[in-house]
Subunit: 427 residues, 2 copies
Amino acid sequence: MAMEVELKEMLDEIQSLKQSLPDSSKSSIDKLQLYVKRLTDLVKSVPVRRPKLKDMSAEVVDSNPYSRLMALQRMGIVENYERIREYSVAIVGIGGVGSVAAEMLTRCGIGRLLLYDYDKVELANMNRLFFRPEQAGMTKTDAAVQTLQDINPDVVLESYTLNITTVQGFETFMSSLGNKTFRPEKEGSGVDLVLSCVDNYEARMVVNQACNELNQTWMESGVSEDAVSGHIQLLIPGETACFACAPPLVVASGVDERTLKREGVCAASLPTTMGVVAGLLVQNTLKYLLKFGHVSPYLGYNSLKDYFPTMEMRPNPQCSNAACLDRQKEYLLVKPARDAAKAKMEAEALLVAEGPLHADNEWNISIVDDSEIDVKDVSSSDTLPEGLTRELPIADEFSRLPASGPSDMSMDDLEELRKQLEALNAD
Amino acid sequence: MAMEVELKEMLDEIQSLKQSLPDSSKSSIDKLQLYVKRLTDLVKSVPVRRPKLKDMSAEVVDSNPYSRLMALQRMGIVENYERIREYSVAIVGIGGVGSVAAEMLTRCGIGRLLLYDYDKVELANMNRLFFRPEQAGMTKTDAAVQTLQDINPDVVLESYTLNITTVQGFETFMSSLGNKTFRPEKEGSGVDLVLSCVDNYEARMVVNQACNELNQTWMESGVSEDAVSGHIQLLIPGETACFACAPPLVVASGVDERTLKREGVCAASLPTTMGVVAGLLVQNTLKYLLKFGHVSPYLGYNSLKDYFPTMEMRPNPQCSNAACLDRQKEYLLVKPARDAAKAKMEAEALLVAEGPLHADNEWNISIVDDSEIDVKDVSSSDTLPEGLTRELPIADEFSRLPASGPSDMSMDDLEELRKQLEALNAD
């Protein structure tokens, strides 16, 4: 816009000059005016942002950026896609995974995105998707906002250029998660989900601390330093293991890039692995927010074998994190009521499912019978997923606890927890 | 650049005007000169592309766009990463999957990319990664080249704005795949791999025809219309099933978008599913080209269950595609020599593996023992992967043939093929 203003002022200047000059100089002035006009046209050909859209339309026209998303309703996948506009998602770490996750959520039309990073874009990041070479030197948050605003002006973007592992950074992190002005009627914190896309152990522990304190559901993600494997994990305070619940499980990607750089060594990374992990992470996010499909508690990606391990981890009653223990106690108190409500919902869903799911199957889509597919990918208790390695002997004891599904939580009462504790201490 | 030229000419014009004018008008002329100078500065602040890099450096500095990729060598994943610069990959269909695949390969520093599409960018495509709203109206090939050139000027980009399903388009497609000026010493066609990222059955059959005729290895990809599942598949003419080998297996995503639009209906799509499929496709491509890990013959993605079916399909000796039958005959002739060479290589690899793989484990990476993980994800003969549905009774017979692994190809001689043929005809 700066150029358009300059050009307009310049045209005025030429106009006033023209009136004061002899006719002999007029041809030269005409030429100048022509130059300014051509420049103005060139400036105008630089694109402008599309206007904000008040509603998500399902109309099938080329100009509708939401037609392919609203089609999820017609397909019977999502009941109410437009609800996505009510949700706030915080993404911590706008690197190889976080930036792509942010772009996916932006293109999906998420209501509000909160972005946290302290780092700058470097040419060394160009082997991953999202950032462009001309953004080198900008903060990752600024560069991300620049790109995301252009892609979808409907998304409310908040960016925080800070390090959550500092005292000041953590305070801002906590207060921003608590801010409820976007949807004042929302219960709990101001966001619906926190996505951890950081590249080191310390930052993961800080996200874990914040989410345990706020009773905030979050998803963790990571990619190994050899670039060929990764994982995503769902963490519900009190209900699933928190990041501190399983201290012997050390994430291999927990290496601080700053330390590495100093030694002239760096971790490998690939746009493929990071793109897949970001895709799985945001897919799990969409399933969680829009309530469709199965939300994976843990999903690994071993790209060398194209193997995708899954597992579930229950909270550790001996967790070193005090907030986690508080959440565990609260969860045990509300669990009976929750289970009853869930059982009722499942029974109702079953009744509905007995009728025809899609009366008008205009797409002629045949679904492969689920019973034919063996989905039991859940790793045995002896198997650890990608990137995880046992370090303390207690790990074997902890992981040997039955990994039962949510519908089969025989362990989840205080009596059982006490027994479990005793068994652990007996060793 | 157009602006800079205009501004330079304008400055000259003002300079000559200044000399012919009385002193009284000079202040106005000075003002004009200042405007032009400020505009020139504004134009210069628009980013310029980084220079081409002659070699891929492994040096760990922020300004090196290849440091994280060359680190794959240090990590022991890839033997010679820089070989990627010798390879040419053709991508047919620059939509939700193809455009992201192109960006990934560009960021990986692929030698040469050939892009094929006839369609234009629309705002309705903004729910997928890659294209930006300001590119609406451009051809997908032009928009892709614009973006990819800026990301990595080292990649040789060739774009073909054509429909491969037309006679003229198919001819250009074939001749461009055959062009060997990029690497004249290369055997076979001019490209190392073709990636099919199209959205309809007809175009897939055309890619299949071209690759069978050229004896060209290719990978197929697809996403279902309900946006929640997808797949990738490796096709080696004569060695694996071609796209026409299994006519009863109809790909659910084989619907022409143009037909759909006319009816005011469109397929659903998600940036997540398409990003995951593109990531799996390019990961398989990197494994195939740079010779690491296991190249998947087929990998499905069912996002509702996070289930990833795999399978292998052998060529159908009754395939309707004449070129496929020719390739099958050729393959059976060279197979004994190939198997012997492969067995020798595997024996040598085994000898090497007995020594320490990484003497200096500077990363302290522990690998989970493979024997603990059950990788047998290969679907049973009764199970079809995502998006595939049986239509003709012969399908059951065909898919019931033993799906043996590559090391166990008891079927692969003419005698066995004859038996198989008889069994099929006996029905």
